[in-house]
Structure formats: C-alpha cells, structure tokens
Amino acid sequence: MIAIPDDQDPAEEALVWFAALRDEDAPEAVWLAFQDWLEADPSHGLAYDDAESLWSTLDGVGQPTAANAPGPSSVPLAVSYPRSRRSVVYPAIAAAFAGLLGLGLWFQFMPMGSEVIYTADEAPRSVVLGDGSHVELNRHSTIGVRLNGRARQVHLKDGEAAFDVVHDASRPFVVSSADQRRVEVLGTAFNVVSHDHHFRVDVARGLVAVTGSGGFGLIRVPAGQGFEQVSDSRPRLLRIDPSHASDWRQGVLVYRDSDIQSVAFDLSRYFDKPVRVSPSAASLSFTGALRIDDEATMLAQLEGFVPVRVQRTASEIRLTVRDGG
C-alpha cells in the first residue's frame, strides 16, 4: 500500500503516486485513494500533470530512430489541456459507433442557405454540420438544417436529438421545434426532445436560452438543468444529471428514481402509439436501465421489473398496476 507523509511537497507526492499507479496490478482502492489526494488540493493535480509530462517527454526515447530525432519542436513540461478537443474526439466516436455497434453513420456537409433534411428511422444517426457542430439523431427523429454566414438554424420537426455545438459568437445556433419553441445556444452540449406536444431540453454543458410556447418567454437553462413543457402549460425546470442527458446514444435509457410517467413518455417516442399510465400505477417511480429495442422487447423489460401490466389497444399502450405488485 501507499503511505504518503504529510509534510512532503506535491511534486514528490505526485511521483510516488505515479510510480504506484504504473503498476498494472494496482487495485481499485489505490485509484480511489489517488482520487482523494487529487481532490485534496489543486496543486496536487498540477504536480501530477508534471509527472505525466515528464514521462511522456521520454516517449520514443530508446527506440532506434528517436535518440537523434526528438521531434521538430518544443517539448513542454507542463501543458494545459486545450479547452476543446471535440473536433478530434467526435468523429472517432461516431466512427467507432458505426463500426462497433452497427449504428448508421453519415457525414454530411451542408450547402449554404437551403434547408437540408436529416431523418433517422430505425437506428440513431450521427450528423456533422458544415460548421463542425455534431448532431446525434435518435430513432424516429427528423431535423431540417439551414446554415449561412449569419445564423445556424436547426428545426427539430419531431423526435430527439443531442447537440454538440461549436462556439461561434457571430453565428447564433438556434434549435426550433413545433409550436415555435426555440433553444438558443451559446456553444454547448444539450439534448432536445419534441414529440406529441411534449418538449424537453436537458443541458449537459454550457448554457442555453429556451423560448417556450404559450407566452413563456426566454428562460436561461444552465448545465445540470432541464426544461420541460407539455403543450402551452407552465414549464418546469428540472435538476438533471448532465452525464445522463443523452444516454440513448449508448443504446440505453437510464432512470434514477424517475416517475413512471417520464418512462412512459420516453417509451412513446419509440413506438407508433402513446404509452399512458393509469392512475393506479402513477405513484410508481423507477430506477434502472432499459435497453432500447423493439416495442415487444422494451415492454417485456419494463414488465420484468416494474409491477405493471401492459395492455395494448388500437390507439394506445396502457400501463396499469399489477396485482400483488
């Protein structure tokens, strides 16, 4: 185990941690203790970055070609992380999704001015807009996109999409939905659902300004909050977990103590008829994860661990409480 005296300087402590964590067999407890140390003082993380930099400065040394060719330019010992590396990371993620998970992937580049429509049917779809922003479209969702020199406009005609927007102060990025709701973006990541008069925005990072319908004007929604409005009713602001704002991109719907009503709403998005909760089941809340699949499979998952009975009619799917549940 690792014992670090209190009176050492962060640089020395960082090296002790670094040497300990290079061991492939370091158990989880050591990682957790390391995290405690990192969080104990801001100087610890900086010192650890220096240790890592020292280590990677020597990358390639010892290989035959590297001794006399350490690189064209400088080797910094302390480098801060650039603020955004999304442009590098996202294509990689999208490509990996396409390759590994069998999801559809299309890269599209936009002509200026005219509206271009993107639709995802039975599989999610990843779209890269001409400005470098990324949109991940959930199943059964359609957007129309217009880009020009002064504005970036996305119309979410129906469904759900997660946006990761490249910051460009001179060209506001606006997502509009049916019922004239608008989400104005100031360079950020967020998720929007618009379906069947139900509208919801979950902000994972940054800040958006939402214009609701029915005269509910500009509302600023920061990271960690959600905005929800049904028809023209008074909107609700929700606390959300930013790391779960768009779990559907990983093929799961994750819930923590959620109303059965929100679960039903999410499921409705995936089926051709709405899922309604009867009053007997309305008091249930659910914690767990549903894998996104066809209607029968998803409902079977739900029935598997929530004491509800699923009844199908021509116009809806109804959830009632199950006897003994």
Partner: protein
Amino acid sequence: MTETATEPFGTVRRKSAASPPREPESLPVFDASPLVMAYLEKRDALGRFVRARLRSDVDVEDVLQELYLKVAALPEGQDVREPGAFLYRLTANLLTDRLRSAQRSARRDGAWRWTNHTTGPIEDEDEAPTAERAVAARQQLRRLINALEDLSPTTRDVFQRHKFDGRSYGEVASDLGISKSSVEKHMMRALRHLAEVASS
C-alpha cells in the same frame, strides 16, 4: 416502504413512500458484458475521477464516451479479475493519451500560448521565441537522457525495461529476480532524479 421487484434489473418505489430516495447500487442492462455493467455502475465515480484529473467539467463526458467505446469494443469473455481497477487504469490511459496529443499539437502549432497569458493578438508572436523554445526543449530532452546515466545500473535497468521495453512491473520483477515492490522503489528513484534534472 420500498418495494423491490423480484427481477434483478431495476427497482421500483412508491412515490408516497416515507423513506428517502436511495441511490441505486447499480444500473444493469440486459445482455451486457460484465465490464460494460461495471462501467454503467461506476460511470459516475469514473466521471469524478476524470473531473479531478482534468480539474474541469469540460471534456468529462467525452472521456466517458470514449471509455465506453473502448469497453464495448473489448472481446466478449475477456477475463478481467478486477473490473474496477481495470476501468480506472483504462481511464487514466485515455487521459494520458489526451495529454500527449495536446503536447503534440502544441508542438505542431508552436502554440505555447496556452500556457502564456497572452492577451494581445497572437500574430505578435514571431518565429524567434518558438524556435528558441524548441532548442531549449531539445536540450532538456538531452539532459533527461543523460540523467539516466547517473542512475545505478539496477535502477536504470528497471526504468528502461518498464519505460522503453513496455514491460509491466511484474515482468520486470521476474526478469531481474527482484520483488515487485523493489521495482516500484527503483522506478520512484529514477523518476525523482529525472524530475530534479528537469526542474534544475
């Protein structure tokens, strides 16, 4: 009054229940590999770790996504004895890769501007300072390589096997017939000396 479904996939609670909401111990998914399940279970904890390492919320989600894809891409049936430790190591490696590519693009762009508090137009920075720094960095690397010569033969051997030959601590230990904790001590000695040289 908390009701728990008989199936192991989730829990249900009555809203009227007087007991406070409980954090779930896990969020399992159908058909997921043990590592994917461990990932979902530890996602929040790993996020805190990433946040602590990056000292920022920015990019935390990216790293977690990247990690998920790495985990999902591992061959089925891969035997990982300690999924938790494995996930932390994988995360740390991802963060190291990001630091490395940040360094590479810094070198490529000649962009020391991140670390400088430059507020003026960046065109003001001409070539000369960048070139000077490049020379300084090459000298620094040369000093570090020379510093390896100062180490005792065993310490140098341990360091080179681990760093340059990619041998794990366990492998270095059996290569040299020493204990794993000695390997760690030699590594510490080498790192301390290199850090001294780097900062002198």
